[in-house]
């Protein structure tokens, strides 16, 4: 199996697209941070908000949210934490990171994983389909290796590529943040349910990235399935990206119906449990993980079933 993954890895990096996408990711990350710095410096003319004012606003906001009687348990926990942290900051003179600091950029890096999703979809959709379109599938399947092993090696390779790009996103965000903003003052605080404690911003960044990766993973798997079933990478890429955008919108349309709880895109964003921003408030992390796992198993079963049974006529 290791040799098969080695093969797929070699083929992946022999294609220009893989390099272009990685390079594009680096360029976009640098550019967006550059723009942030530029926008920020041109707005500096306005009077600066002190960190105390920011924290006071946060506290007021969180307390206002807590008044809402429709709040779910999860959201309540979240806003209680926010209020407690803001209060702690003001009471103990502990400022948060500025937005224009390397640390805050690292924490926010997970937001850029949507780019990684896009690039992963392109790779996932093409890794099986391209073998069919180039005709190399005949060479690949007439070897003493079972078909499911070949498919597994392709899936694993796609996921390694996705993980690599995710790590790259955090690393480049840190580097660009350091270059454009430098290390800022401040302390990262977390609410552990009963008290406010100091936390590591690196761990926070990795946690958020890992939660965001769920969406890269499931949408990548979906594209992988489409590429395997339709043997056409363009169809698979188009359909996956279309569903990725419309699918999330559909969550709002379906929000009042029970079926939304079993709908994939309600659960793709796992960071929602840590940002309080929940379109469907009464779901839990466990529920999301179970729904994602069920979709994953279905996508995989369809891929393996078609790939191992198909008559190759290409």
């Amino acid at each position: 199996m290791l040799k098969l993954i080695q093969n797929e890895w070699m083929k992946l990096w022999s294609k220009k697209t893989s390099w272009i996408m990685a390079a594009l990711l680096v360029v976009i990350l640098f550019a967006s941070m550059g723009i942030t710095k530029w926008v920020n410096s041109s707005m500096m003319v306005n009077e600066e908000e002190t960190w105390q004012e920011v924290a006071a606003n946060q506290q007021a906001n969180a307390e206002a949210m807590l008044m809402d009687p429709n709040l779910s348990g999860q959201q309540k926990d979240y806003y209680e934490g926010q209020a407690a942290i803001a209060e702690y900051r003001l009471a103990n003179e502990v400022p948060a990171f500025e937005y224009t600091s390397m640390q805050q950029q690292v924490i926010d890096a997970h937001a850029m994983l949507s780019l990684v999703t896009l690039f992963t979809v392109i790779i996932a959709a093409g890794i099986v389909a391209s073998e069919f379109s180039q005709g190399t599938i005949k060479m690949l399947l007439t070897r003493p290796v079972k078909r499911w092993k070949i498919l597994t090696s392709k899936y694993i390779t796609t996921m390694i590529y996705a993980i690599l790009l995710s790590i790259l996103t955090i690393a480049v965000s840190a580097l660009a943040g350091l270059i454009f903003f430098g290390i800022g003052d401040g302390t990262f605080l977390v609410w552990n349910g009963s008290e406010v404690v100091e936390g590591s911003y690196w761990i926070e960044a990795l946690k958020m990235a890992a939660l965001s990766f769920a969406s890269v993973w499931i949408i990548g798997t979906f594209a992988f399935m489409l590429g395997t079933v339709f043997r056409s990478s363009s169809l698979a890429i188009g359909l996956s990206i279309f569903l990725m955008f419309t699918g999330i919108q559909a969550v709002y349309l379906l929000a009042n119906y029970e079926v939304v709880k079993y709908y994939l895109f309600t659960h793709t964003d796992l960071t929602q449990f840590y940002t309080g921003f929940m379109p469907v408030p009464d779901i839990t992390m466990t529920m999301s993980l179970i729904v994602l796992a069920v979709y994953f198993l279905i996508f995989m079963a369809v891929s393996y079933w078609t790939f191992s049974r198909r008559d190759v006529t290409a």
């Binding site: 098969l4 080695q6 093969n7 083929k11 005949k138 007439t142 290796v145």
Partner: protein
């Protein structure tokens, strides 16, 4: 032949939808023998070959390679097979060497030395580190052969291997296959619709039409000793030759006689002493095309040129 066959095709059938593409096809292939697989377009050659290498599942029947079934024992049986299905499609964005490395990793125990050996064998050592996209068709064909030979197969299966090769390339390819068959004792199975090519390459020919195997012949049996004699006046020549007891048939401007070569000087002497003027005496071979037409009933002759 009492020798155990390397490949046994047993009652192979394939039905797609309601159409029977292959009907109950059985065939044995032996060590060191090159068997041609001939048939009009759409007769089921490619489908048969795809079932033989596990790319398609037969509806019924089985293919055994060295006693093991491709259908139920895929990994064990396919490792004895080298495959070139149509034009060898390689990863164009990688070098020839990386392509070979890629395929070698899918077999057990192929060393880097073995790859170099095969590269030498097909004469690719100068261009092996260039991208496949820069290769000519002939070079790709050689690389295709190299990947099929990497694991030292006992059975080599080729689908339309000379499609698109120039005459020099075809000739080189033919010599190479014959060498592999005789020196390594490999059983070779070649499908083609290029009749002349099959005739030069193969020891044996299996003819398929409408999914059924209609004939298997040894090429040597096909070559009955026959001579063409053109002498004037015609009537005199006919009288002399048939008088001497040769079976005579009219052909072109003269006659064909079925005889061994040692009788030819005698026949010529008789014609000369009878006063006939001799214009031509030459061995005559019925071409495979004639025989192919005869076997398939003439109606659906495949093109003698590439698609």
């Amino acid at each position: 032949m009492t020798e155990k066959p390397i490949v046994q095709i047993k009652n192979l059938s394939k039905t797609i939808g309601k159409k029977n593409i292959i009907k109950n096809l059985s065939l044995d292939l032996y060590k060191g023998q090159i068997t041609g697989f001939l048939g009009p377009n759409g007769a089921g050659k490619t489908t048969t070959i795809r079932m033989m290498v596990g790319l398609m599942r037969p509806t019924e029947g089985e293919v055994f390679i060295d006693g093991q079934s491709i259908q139920s024992n895929f990994e064990e049986s396919i490792q004895k097979v080298g495959v070139i299905v149509e034009n060898p499609e390689m990863y164009k964005y990688m070098t020839g060497y990386k392509n070979l490395l890629h395929f070698s990793r899918m077999h057990k125990g192929i060393s880097k030395k073995r790859i170099d050996e095969v590269v030498q064998q097909v004469g690719m050592q100068n261009r092996i580190n260039e991208k496949v996209s820069s290769y000519s068709l002939g070079m790709r064909q050689r690389l295709g052969l190299a990947q099929a030979l990497l694991h030292d197969p006992k059975f080599l299966i080729l689908d339309e291997p000379t499609n698109g090769l120039d005459p020099a390339g075809i000739r080189e390819f033919r010599m190479y296959l014959q060498k592999v068959a005789s020196e390594n004792g490999v059983a070779v199975f070649v499908s083609s619709h290029l009749l002349s090519e099959i005739e030069l390459l193969c020891d044996r020919i299996a003819v398929i039409q409408n999914g059924e195997l209609i004939d298997i012949k040894n090429v040597k049996e096909l070559n009955v000793s026959r001579y063409y004699i053109h002498a004037e006046p015609n009537e005199l020549a006919l009288e002399v030759l048939s008088g001497a007891g040769f079976p005579v048939t009219a052909h072109d401007k003269g006659y064909l006689i079925d005889t061994e070569s040692q009788h030819i000087p005698g026949a010529v002497n008789m014609l000369v002493s009878a006063g006939a003027k001799i214009y031509a005496v030459q061995p005559h071979r019925a071409t495979l095309e004639d025989q192919f037409l005869e076997m398939t009933g003439g109606g659906q002759i495949a093109e003698t040129h590439s698609k």
